[in-house]
Protein backbone atom coordinates (compact mmCIF):
# COMPACT_ATOMS: atom_id res chain seq x y z
CA UNK A 1 0.00 0.00 0.00
CA UNK A 2 1.72 3.27 -1.04
CA UNK A 3 2.08 5.79 1.73
CA UNK A 4 -0.23 8.80 1.74
CA UNK A 5 1.37 12.21 1.41
CA UNK A 6 2.27 13.70 4.72
CA UNK A 7 -0.69 15.81 5.76
CA UNK A 8 -0.80 18.91 7.84
CA UNK A 9 -2.60 18.68 11.13
CA UNK A 10 -5.27 21.05 12.27
CA UNK A 11 -2.89 23.59 13.67
CA UNK A 12 -4.46 26.70 15.21
CA UNK A 13 -4.65 29.36 12.56
CA UNK A 14 -3.11 31.95 14.84
CA UNK A 15 0.07 29.95 15.30
CA UNK A 16 2.58 30.31 12.49
CA UNK A 17 4.54 27.21 11.43
CA UNK A 18 7.78 29.04 12.18
CA UNK A 19 6.69 29.40 15.79
CA UNK A 20 5.83 25.71 15.99
CA UNK A 21 9.15 24.68 14.54
CA UNK A 22 11.02 26.91 16.94
CA UNK A 23 10.52 24.38 19.67
CA UNK A 24 13.56 22.10 19.85
CA UNK A 25 12.02 18.65 20.41
CA UNK A 26 9.23 19.27 17.94
CA UNK A 27 11.71 20.50 15.37
CA UNK A 28 13.75 17.37 15.86
CA UNK A 29 10.66 15.29 15.21
CA UNK A 30 9.57 17.22 12.17
CA UNK A 31 13.05 17.11 10.68
CA UNK A 32 14.22 13.66 11.65
CA UNK A 33 11.13 11.49 11.36
CA UNK A 34 10.45 12.34 7.72
CA UNK A 35 13.96 11.15 6.90
CA UNK A 36 13.25 7.84 8.62
CA UNK A 37 9.98 7.73 6.78
CA UNK A 38 11.66 8.20 3.43
CA UNK A 39 14.10 5.40 4.24
CA UNK A 40 11.26 3.09 5.22
CA UNK A 41 9.27 3.91 2.12
CA UNK A 42 12.31 3.55 -0.15
CA UNK A 43 13.10 0.17 1.41
CA UNK A 44 9.49 -0.93 1.07
CA UNK A 45 9.44 0.03 -2.59
CA UNK A 46 12.79 -1.64 -3.23
CA UNK A 47 11.66 -4.88 -1.60
CA UNK A 48 8.35 -4.75 -3.46
CA UNK A 49 10.11 -4.18 -6.78
CA UNK A 50 12.78 -6.79 -6.08
CA UNK A 51 10.33 -9.46 -5.04
CA UNK A 52 8.12 -8.60 -8.00
CA UNK A 53 11.04 -9.07 -10.39
CA UNK A 54 12.06 -12.26 -8.64
CA UNK A 55 8.56 -13.63 -8.94
CA UNK A 56 8.43 -12.75 -12.62
CA UNK A 57 11.69 -14.67 -13.10
CA UNK A 58 10.36 -17.63 -11.15
CA UNK A 59 7.20 -17.47 -13.17
CA UNK A 60 9.14 -17.74 -16.42
CA UNK A 61 11.37 -20.46 -14.95
CA UNK A 62 8.33 -22.39 -13.83
CA UNK A 63 6.74 -22.10 -17.26
CA UNK A 64 9.97 -23.38 -18.83
CA UNK A 65 10.18 -26.33 -16.49
CA UNK A 66 6.55 -27.22 -17.05
CA UNK A 67 7.03 -26.93 -20.82
CA UNK A 68 10.07 -29.23 -20.70
CA UNK A 69 8.15 -31.71 -18.57
CA UNK A 70 5.29 -31.70 -21.07
CA UNK A 71 7.61 -32.16 -24.04
CA UNK A 72 9.22 -35.16 -22.42
CA UNK A 73 7.48 -38.22 -23.86
CA UNK A 74 5.83 -40.09 -21.06
CA UNK A 75 3.59 -42.33 -23.10
CA UNK A 76 3.36 -44.14 -26.39
CA UNK A 77 0.89 -41.51 -27.49
CA UNK A 78 3.55 -38.83 -26.99
CA UNK A 79 6.03 -40.64 -29.24
CA UNK A 80 4.40 -43.06 -31.64
CA UNK A 81 6.50 -46.13 -32.28
CA UNK A 82 8.56 -45.90 -29.13
CA UNK A 83 7.61 -48.75 -26.88
CA UNK A 84 8.42 -49.16 -23.24
CA UNK A 85 11.36 -51.19 -22.01
CA UNK A 86 9.51 -54.27 -20.66
CA UNK A 87 7.77 -54.66 -24.02
CA UNK A 88 11.11 -54.49 -25.83
CA UNK A 89 12.56 -57.10 -23.48
CA UNK A 90 9.60 -59.38 -23.99
CA UNK A 91 9.90 -59.14 -27.78
CA UNK A 92 13.64 -59.84 -27.66
CA UNK A 93 13.07 -62.90 -25.49
CA UNK A 94 10.37 -64.11 -27.83
CA UNK A 95 12.68 -63.81 -30.88
CA UNK A 96 15.55 -65.52 -29.10
CA UNK A 97 13.37 -68.35 -27.84
CA UNK A 98 11.96 -68.95 -31.30
CA UNK A 99 15.49 -69.02 -32.75
CA UNK A 100 16.67 -71.44 -30.09
CA UNK A 101 13.67 -73.68 -30.70
CA UNK A 102 14.43 -73.83 -34.43
CA UNK A 103 18.07 -74.66 -33.74
CA UNK A 104 17.00 -77.35 -31.31
CA UNK A 105 14.69 -78.95 -33.87
CA UNK A 106 17.50 -78.98 -36.44
CA UNK A 107 19.84 -80.55 -33.90
CA UNK A 108 17.32 -83.26 -33.11
CA UNK A 109 16.77 -84.02 -36.79
CA UNK A 110 20.51 -84.40 -37.34
CA UNK A 111 20.87 -86.53 -34.24
CA UNK A 112 18.10 -88.77 -35.53
CA UNK A 113 19.76 -89.06 -38.93
CA UNK A 114 23.07 -89.88 -37.31
CA UNK A 115 21.41 -92.48 -35.09
CA UNK A 116 19.70 -94.04 -38.13
CA UNK A 117 22.99 -94.05 -39.98
CA UNK A 118 24.76 -95.71 -37.06
CA UNK A 119 22.01 -98.28 -36.79
CA UNK A 120 22.22 -99.03 -40.53
CA UNK A 121 25.96 -99.50 -40.23
CA UNK A 122 25.46 -101.89 -37.33
CA UNK A 123 22.90 -103.82 -39.42
CA UNK A 124 25.31 -103.93 -42.32
CA UNK A 125 28.03 -105.20 -39.99
CA UNK A 126 25.65 -107.89 -38.76
CA UNK A 127 24.65 -108.92 -42.31
CA UNK A 128 28.29 -109.03 -43.38
CA UNK A 129 29.24 -111.12 -40.34
CA UNK A 130 26.34 -113.51 -40.97
CA UNK A 131 27.35 -113.93 -44.61
CA UNK A 132 30.97 -114.47 -43.72
CA UNK A 133 29.97 -117.04 -41.11
CA UNK A 134 27.75 -118.92 -43.56
CA UNK A 135 30.38 -119.16 -46.29
CA UNK A 136 33.84 -120.61 -46.31
CA UNK A 137 36.59 -117.98 -46.34
CA UNK A 138 37.66 -118.85 -49.89
CA UNK A 139 34.07 -118.41 -51.16
CA UNK A 140 33.43 -114.82 -50.05
CA UNK A 141 31.60 -113.29 -53.03
CA UNK A 142 32.54 -110.06 -54.71
CA UNK A 143 29.28 -108.31 -53.76
CA UNK A 144 30.21 -108.86 -50.15
CA UNK A 145 33.52 -107.11 -50.76
CA UNK A 146 31.68 -104.22 -52.43
CA UNK A 147 29.31 -104.14 -49.48
CA UNK A 148 32.30 -103.88 -47.20
CA UNK A 149 33.65 -100.95 -49.22
CA UNK A 150 30.27 -99.20 -49.22
CA UNK A 151 30.02 -99.68 -45.47
CA UNK A 152 33.42 -98.05 -45.03
CA UNK A 153 32.37 -95.15 -47.25
CA UNK A 154 29.14 -94.65 -45.35
CA UNK A 155 31.05 -94.77 -42.05
CA UNK A 156 33.38 -92.11 -43.37
CA UNK A 157 30.45 -89.98 -44.44
CA UNK A 158 28.83 -90.44 -41.04
CA UNK A 159 31.98 -89.24 -39.37
CA UNK A 160 32.01 -86.26 -41.71
CA UNK A 161 28.37 -85.45 -40.93
CA UNK A 162 29.06 -85.71 -37.20
CA UNK A 163 32.06 -83.39 -37.54
CA UNK A 164 29.99 -80.93 -39.61
CA UNK A 165 27.23 -81.05 -37.01
CA UNK A 166 29.64 -80.25 -34.23
CA UNK A 167 31.06 -77.38 -36.29
CA UNK A 168 27.53 -76.16 -37.01
CA UNK A 169 26.70 -76.27 -33.32
CA UNK A 170 29.73 -74.20 -32.52
CA UNK A 171 28.85 -71.65 -35.23
CA UNK A 172 25.28 -71.47 -34.06
CA UNK A 173 26.35 -71.01 -30.44
CA UNK A 174 28.68 -68.24 -31.57
CA UNK A 175 25.92 -66.58 -33.63
CA UNK A 176 23.51 -66.84 -30.71
CA UNK A 177 26.07 -65.20 -28.44
CA UNK A 178 26.49 -62.33 -30.90
CA UNK A 179 22.72 -62.01 -31.24
CA UNK A 180 22.30 -61.82 -27.47
CA UNK A 181 25.01 -59.18 -27.19
CA UNK A 182 23.54 -57.11 -30.02
CA UNK A 183 20.06 -57.27 -28.57
CA UNK A 184 21.35 -56.35 -25.10
CA UNK A 185 23.24 -53.39 -26.56
CA UNK A 186 20.12 -52.37 -28.44
CA UNK A 187 18.08 -52.61 -25.26
CA UNK A 188 20.59 -50.44 -23.42
CA UNK A 189 20.55 -47.89 -26.23
CA UNK A 190 16.78 -47.79 -26.16
CA UNK A 191 16.67 -47.67 -22.38
CA UNK A 192 19.06 -44.71 -22.09
CA UNK A 193 16.71 -42.04 -23.50
CA UNK A 194 13.78 -43.48 -21.59
CA UNK A 195 15.71 -43.38 -18.33
CA UNK A 196 16.69 -39.81 -19.11
CA UNK A 197 13.07 -38.91 -19.85
CA UNK A 198 11.91 -40.44 -16.57
CA UNK A 199 14.61 -38.53 -14.72
CA UNK A 200 13.61 -35.32 -16.49
CA UNK A 201 9.96 -35.79 -15.61
CA UNK A 202 10.84 -36.51 -12.00
CA UNK A 203 13.11 -33.47 -11.92
CA UNK A 204 10.44 -31.32 -13.51
CA UNK A 205 7.87 -32.38 -10.89
CA UNK A 206 10.34 -31.72 -8.07
CA UNK A 207 11.30 -28.28 -9.38
CA UNK A 208 7.64 -27.41 -9.75
CA UNK A 209 7.06 -28.27 -6.08
CA UNK A 210 10.17 -26.31 -5.09
CA UNK A 211 8.92 -23.32 -7.04
CA UNK A 212 5.57 -23.52 -5.27
CA UNK A 213 7.43 -23.46 -1.96
CA UNK A 214 9.46 -20.46 -3.14
CA UNK A 215 6.29 -18.66 -4.17
CA UNK A 216 4.81 -19.41 -0.75
CA UNK A 217 7.92 -18.13 1.01
CA UNK A 218 8.05 -14.96 -1.03
CA UNK A 219 4.53 -14.07 0.03
CA UNK A 220 5.86 -13.14 3.46
CA UNK A 221 7.18 -10.04 1.74
CA UNK A 222 3.57 -8.91 1.67
CA UNK A 223 3.47 -9.03 5.47
CA UNK A 224 6.67 -7.01 5.69
CA UNK A 225 5.19 -4.54 3.24
CA UNK A 226 2.08 -4.08 5.35
CA UNK A 227 4.02 -3.60 8.58
CA UNK A 228 6.34 -1.05 6.99
CA UNK A 229 3.31 0.75 5.61
CA UNK A 230 1.72 0.88 9.05
CA UNK A 231 4.88 2.16 10.70
CA UNK A 232 5.58 4.77 8.02
CA UNK A 233 2.00 6.03 8.10
CA UNK A 234 2.19 6.29 11.85
CA UNK A 235 5.44 8.22 11.60
CA UNK A 236 3.69 10.74 9.38
CA UNK A 237 0.79 10.96 11.80
CA UNK A 238 3.19 11.35 14.72
CA UNK A 239 5.07 14.14 12.99
CA UNK A 240 1.83 15.99 12.28
CA UNK A 241 0.68 15.53 15.79
CA UNK A 242 3.95 16.78 17.31
CA UNK A 243 3.76 19.94 15.26
CA UNK A 244 0.48 20.84 16.88
CA UNK A 245 0.70 19.49 20.41
CA UNK A 246 3.16 20.87 22.85
CA UNK A 247 2.47 18.44 25.65
CA UNK A 248 1.20 14.90 25.54
CA UNK A 249 -0.76 13.23 28.31
CA UNK A 250 -1.03 9.47 29.03
CA UNK A 251 -4.53 9.65 27.56
CA UNK A 252 -3.08 11.02 24.35
CA UNK A 253 -0.65 8.13 24.22
CA UNK A 254 -3.45 5.59 24.73
CA UNK A 255 -5.58 7.22 22.06
CA UNK A 256 -2.59 7.24 19.79
CA UNK A 257 -1.88 3.57 20.29
CA UNK A 258 -5.53 2.63 19.87
CA UNK A 259 -5.59 4.47 16.55
CA UNK A 260 -2.40 2.72 15.48
CA UNK A 261 -3.83 -0.68 16.42
CA UNK A 262 -6.90 0.07 14.34
CA UNK A 263 -4.73 0.21 11.23
CA UNK A 264 -3.29 -3.27 11.71
CA UNK A 265 -4.16 -5.91 9.15
CA UNK A 266 -2.61 -9.00 10.73
CA UNK A 267 -3.07 -10.84 13.99
CA UNK A 268 0.69 -10.95 14.52
CA UNK A 269 0.83 -7.13 14.48
CA UNK A 270 -1.80 -6.96 17.18
CA UNK A 271 0.09 -9.51 19.27
CA UNK A 272 3.36 -7.63 18.82
CA UNK A 273 1.66 -4.36 19.75
CA UNK A 274 0.68 -5.79 23.14
CA UNK A 275 3.98 -7.67 23.60
CA UNK A 276 2.07 -10.93 23.50
CA UNK A 277 3.77 -14.14 22.39
CA UNK A 278 3.83 -13.91 18.65
CA UNK A 279 3.16 -16.95 16.57
CA UNK A 280 3.72 -15.99 12.95
CA UNK A 281 0.68 -16.87 10.91
CA UNK A 282 1.13 -19.88 8.68
CA UNK A 283 -1.77 -18.69 6.53
CA UNK A 284 -3.23 -20.88 3.88
CA UNK A 285 -6.59 -21.43 5.52
CA UNK A 286 -9.52 -21.55 3.15
CA UNK A 287 -13.02 -20.87 4.42
CA UNK A 288 -16.07 -21.04 2.19
CA UNK A 289 -19.20 -19.07 3.06
Amino acid sequence: MPLPPQSDCDAPASVAPETLLADGPRMMVTEVVPVWQRHVEASRQAVEQGIGDLLESFSRLCEGVVAIGRQSPDSEAATPGLTDLPTVDARQNEVLTRLLDEVGVTHQRREQLLAQLAETLVQLDTIEADLRDSLPPEAVPVPLQRLDESRATVALLAQQVAADTRADHECQDLALGHARKSLSALAVERAAPEVAECALQSLSARIEKDLERVVLGLQFQDRLNQTLTNVACDMARFTDWMRCNEHASPADAMRWLAELERTYTMQEQRARHHSLPNTPSQGGSVEFF
Partner: protein
Protein backbone atom coordinates in the same frame (compact mmCIF):
# COMPACT_ATOMS: atom_id res chain seq x y z
CA UNK B 1 -4.81 -27.08 -19.10
CA UNK B 2 -6.72 -24.12 -20.50
CA UNK B 3 -10.06 -22.62 -19.58
CA UNK B 4 -12.00 -19.72 -20.99
CA UNK B 5 -12.50 -18.22 -17.53
CA UNK B 6 -11.27 -14.76 -16.72
CA UNK B 7 -10.25 -13.91 -13.16
CA UNK B 8 -9.97 -10.33 -11.92
CA UNK B 9 -7.18 -10.06 -9.34
CA UNK B 10 -7.25 -6.98 -7.12
CA UNK B 11 -4.31 -6.24 -4.84
CA UNK B 12 -2.32 -3.07 -4.23
CA UNK B 13 0.90 -5.10 -4.03
CA UNK B 14 2.25 -5.74 -7.50
CA UNK B 15 4.40 -8.62 -6.27
CA UNK B 16 1.38 -10.28 -4.74
CA UNK B 17 -0.62 -9.83 -7.92
CA UNK B 18 2.26 -11.60 -9.67
CA UNK B 19 2.02 -14.50 -7.22
CA UNK B 20 -1.71 -14.85 -7.80
CA UNK B 21 -1.34 -14.41 -11.56
CA UNK B 22 1.35 -17.08 -11.66
CA UNK B 23 -0.83 -19.57 -9.82
CA UNK B 24 -3.95 -18.92 -11.90
CA UNK B 25 -2.30 -18.67 -15.30
CA UNK B 26 -0.53 -21.94 -14.65
CA UNK B 27 -3.96 -23.48 -14.09
CA UNK B 28 -5.13 -22.11 -17.42
CA UNK B 29 -7.08 -19.04 -16.35
CA UNK B 30 -6.89 -15.64 -17.98
CA UNK B 31 -5.97 -13.00 -15.42
CA UNK B 32 -6.71 -9.29 -15.45
CA UNK B 33 -5.35 -7.06 -12.70
CA UNK B 34 -6.49 -4.06 -10.71
CA UNK B 35 -4.50 -2.15 -8.10
CA UNK B 36 -7.43 -1.39 -5.77
CA UNK B 37 -11.21 -1.34 -5.53
CA UNK B 38 -11.67 1.80 -7.58
CA UNK B 39 -9.46 0.54 -10.36
CA UNK B 40 -11.41 -2.73 -10.32
CA UNK B 41 -14.76 -0.92 -10.55
CA UNK B 42 -13.47 0.92 -13.60
CA UNK B 43 -12.43 -2.38 -15.21
CA UNK B 44 -15.52 -4.42 -14.38
CA UNK B 45 -17.56 -3.49 -17.42
CA UNK B 46 -14.72 -3.45 -19.92
CA UNK B 47 -13.61 -6.99 -19.06
CA UNK B 48 -16.39 -8.77 -17.14
CA UNK B 49 -14.70 -11.43 -15.00
CA UNK B 50 -16.01 -14.89 -14.18
CA UNK B 51 -14.58 -14.62 -10.67
CA UNK B 52 -12.88 -11.99 -8.53
CA UNK B 53 -9.92 -12.51 -6.20
CA UNK B 54 -9.59 -9.50 -3.93
CA UNK B 55 -7.39 -8.23 -1.11
CA UNK B 56 -9.08 -6.58 1.89
CA UNK B 57 -6.76 -3.73 2.86
CA UNK B 58 -6.17 -1.42 -0.06
CA UNK B 59 -6.04 2.34 -0.58
CA UNK B 60 -8.92 4.34 -2.06
CA UNK B 61 -11.50 1.52 -2.01
CA UNK B 62 -10.86 -1.50 0.22
CA UNK B 63 -11.88 -5.04 -0.68
CA UNK B 64 -15.01 -5.21 1.47
CA UNK B 65 -16.35 -1.93 0.08
CA UNK B 66 -15.64 -3.23 -3.40
CA UNK B 67 -17.50 -6.47 -2.67
CA UNK B 68 -20.52 -4.54 -1.40
CA UNK B 69 -20.42 -2.40 -4.55
CA UNK B 70 -20.25 -5.43 -6.84
CA UNK B 71 -23.30 -6.97 -5.21
CA UNK B 72 -25.34 -3.86 -6.04
CA UNK B 73 -24.62 -4.08 -9.77
CA UNK B 74 -27.03 -5.87 -12.03
CA UNK B 75 -24.34 -7.40 -14.21
CA UNK B 76 -21.89 -8.66 -11.60
CA UNK B 77 -23.90 -9.39 -8.48
CA UNK B 78 -23.62 -13.14 -9.04
CA UNK B 79 -19.90 -13.06 -9.79
CA UNK B 80 -18.17 -15.04 -7.02
CA UNK B 81 -15.67 -13.12 -4.90
CA UNK B 82 -12.77 -14.69 -3.01
CA UNK B 83 -11.01 -12.59 -0.39
CA UNK B 84 -7.28 -13.24 -0.29
CA UNK B 85 -5.84 -11.39 2.66
CA UNK B 86 -3.53 -11.40 5.66
CA UNK B 87 -6.55 -10.43 7.72
CA UNK B 88 -7.79 -13.33 9.83
CA UNK B 89 -10.08 -11.61 12.34
CA UNK B 90 -13.45 -13.27 12.65
CA UNK B 91 -15.14 -9.87 12.64
CA UNK B 92 -13.65 -9.10 9.24
CA UNK B 93 -14.71 -12.48 7.92
CA UNK B 94 -18.24 -11.83 9.13
CA UNK B 95 -18.16 -8.51 7.28
CA UNK B 96 -17.04 -10.34 4.19
CA UNK B 97 -19.78 -12.92 4.46
CA UNK B 98 -22.35 -10.15 4.87
CA UNK B 99 -20.95 -8.42 1.81
CA UNK B 100 -21.55 -11.54 -0.28
CA UNK B 101 -18.00 -12.87 -0.34
CA UNK B 102 -17.95 -16.60 -1.13
CA UNK B 103 -14.56 -17.62 0.28
CA UNK B 104 -11.86 -16.27 2.56
CA UNK B 105 -8.25 -17.36 2.04
CA UNK B 106 -5.55 -16.27 4.45
CA UNK B 107 -2.17 -15.25 3.08
CA UNK B 108 0.30 -16.76 2.56
CA UNK B 109 -1.53 -19.34 0.50
CA UNK B 110 -0.59 -22.46 -1.39
CA UNK B 111 -1.16 -21.88 -5.11
CA UNK B 112 -3.06 -25.16 -5.27
CA UNK B 113 -5.44 -23.94 -2.55
CA UNK B 114 -6.32 -20.88 -4.55
CA UNK B 115 -6.73 -22.85 -7.77
CA UNK B 116 -8.98 -25.38 -6.02
CA UNK B 117 -11.13 -22.63 -4.53
CA UNK B 118 -11.42 -20.88 -7.90
CA UNK B 119 -12.34 -24.14 -9.63
CA UNK B 120 -14.96 -24.87 -6.98
CA UNK B 121 -16.65 -21.47 -7.26
CA UNK B 122 -16.18 -21.11 -10.99
CA UNK B 123 -16.62 -24.60 -12.45
Amino acid sequence: MTTCKTILVIDDSSSFRTVVKLALQKAGYTVVEAVDGEDAVAQLDTAPPDLIVCDVNMPRMDGLSFARHVKTTELHRFTPIIMLTTESQEAKKAEGRAAGVRAWITKPFQPSQLVDAVARLCP
